[in-house]
Symmetry: C2
Subunit: 217 residues, 2 copies
DNA sequence: CCTACCGATCGGTAGG
DNA sequence: CCTACCGATCGGTAGG
C-alpha cells in the first residue's frame, strides 16, 4: 500500500520529472564507461540507465566525448593538485617525505575519485580529448619521476634501480588500486594507504634485523 | 630494378598473394585491439592494416570475438602454467621462494606475451568470451593469494597486512608493467624482474642497517 | 523532453 | 575441385 494515491492512472508523470542535471548524468556516464568501456557504451545505454530518451540527454550534454573529457579533467585536476603541491619543495621537507606524502595522498584521490581516475588510467589516445589527457598524464609522470630522483639523490632511496623505473613501479602499484578497490569492501582507506607505503618503502619480507625504520606520514 | 620482370603490367599478382595465416592475423588483431581498444577496432581496420579485404579475413577467422578469445587464452594459458607450477608445492621449496619465483616468471610472461596479457588485463566482461576469461583470472588471483598466505604462515612475510591485500598490490605492481614496458626500451627483462622483486620484498627505502637479506632467485 | 529520423559505419556473408 | 581471395551488400545500430 503506497501512501497518497491520486485519481490519475499514471502517477509517474510530474513537472520536469526526474530532474537530472549535468553532474548526475556525468556520474552515470562515468559509471557505465567504467563497467563496459567507453566505446562499448552507447548514448542509448546511458539514456536507458537514467530513464530518459537519447535526445533528452543531449539537452544536458553536447556530446559523448564531452562527458569523457569532463571525467578525465576531474581526475587530472585532483592528481595535478597532489603532485604540484609536493613538487614545489615546501618548507624544509625532504624529497623522501614528500614522496611518501604523494603516495598517501594519491591513494586518497584514487579512492575519492575512483570512477574518473579509473577512466583516466584506461585512456588509449583515440581522440583529441584522450590525447590531451595523455599529455597531462605524462606531465604528472615526469614530476613523479623527478621526485623519486630527488629522494635518491638525497640518499634516502636505494640507488641500484633507475629512478624512472622506480617511479613507474611504485605508481603502478598505487594505480592498480582502481582495479579492485571497493569503498564498502574489506579494506578501508587508511589500511590500504598504510599497506602501500609500508610495502613500497620497507618491503614485504620480514627482515631478521627486527628494527625496520617506521614512518607514519 | 627488380629481377625477373614479366610482360604483365601488374607484377603484383602471385599465387595466393600475401599468404596470411590465422596466427599472423591474430597478431595484427591483438596489436590493434591494444592500440585502440577492442570495441574501437573494426574488422575493416584490421583488414586495412593487413592489406586485405574484410571478407578475406573471414576466410581465416570466424569472428572478431574469436580473435579476442584466442588472445585471452594465450595469456591465460601462460599465466596458468606459471601459477600452477608454483602452487603444487614442489620438492622442498618454501612458499616464500615459490612466491619470488612466481613474481619473476610472471614478469617473463608479461614481457614475452605482453600484447595478449595487456588485452587480458583490460577485459571488462562484456561478452561470454570475456566473462570466461575473467573467471580464469579469478582462479589465478585466488592461487596467488593462497601462495602469499602460505608465505606469511611460514613466517617469511610480514603479517601486519592481510594476504589478500598483499597479493593484489604485489601483482598490481607486476601487472602495471604492460602499460609502459617496451622490449626495445631502456630497461631489459633482467633489470625489470630484479627491480620488481627487490622493491617488493626489500622495499625502496635505504635502511641504515646495511645488511638487507639478498635473494637472487 | 519526445517522436521521428539522418549519414555512416558496424560485424558478417552473399555469389562468383 | 581446391586455395585464397574480391566487389557488393546484408540487417542493425552507432552518435547526433
Amino acid at each position: 500500500m503506497t501512501s497518497t494515491e491520486h485519481a490519475e492512472p499514471a502517477p509517474r508523470r510530474r513537472r520536469g520529472r526526474p530532474g537530472y542535471d549535468q553532474s548526475a548524468i556525468l556520474r552515470a556516464a562515468i559509471d557505465l564507461f567504467n563497467r563496459r568501456g567507453y566505446d562499448a557504451t552507447s548514448m542509448g545505454d546511458l539514456a536507458r540507465e537514467l530513464g530518459l530518451t537519447k535526445p533528452a540527454i543531449y539537452h544536458h550534454v553536447s556530446s559523448k566525448e564531452q562527458l569523457l573529457g569532463q571525467a578525465l579533467d576531474d581526475a587530472l585536476d585532483e592528481l595535478t593538485a597532489v603532485v604540484s603541491e609536493a613538487s614545489r619543495d615546501g618548507a624544509g621537507a625532504g624529497a623522501y617525505e614528500r614522496l611518501r606524502g604523494v603516495v598517501r595522498r594519491s591513494v586518497e584521490v584514487l579512492v575519492a575519485h575512483q570512477p574518473s581516475v579509473t577512466l583516466l588510467l584506461r585512456v588509449r589516445g583515440n581522440s583529441e580529448v584522450e590525447l590531451a589527457a595523455l599529455e597531462r598524464r605524462r606531465w604528472l609522470d615526469d614530476r613523479l619521476a623527478a621526485l623519486v630522483a630527488d629522494a635518491v639523490a638525497e640518499g634516502a632511496l636505494r640507488d641500484d634501480v633507475p629512478p624512472g623505473l622506480v617511479s613507474r613501479l611504485l605508481f603502478g602499484m598505487v594505480n592498480s588500486l582502481v582495479e579492485w578497490y571497493r569503498p564498502d569492501g574489506a579494506y578501508d582507506l587508511r589500511m590500504v594507504a598504510e599497506a602501500i607505503t609500508s610495502i613500497a618503502f620497507d618491503g614485504l619480507a620480514r627482515h631478521e634485523t627486527g628494527h625496520l625504520a617506521r614512518h607514519d606520514t
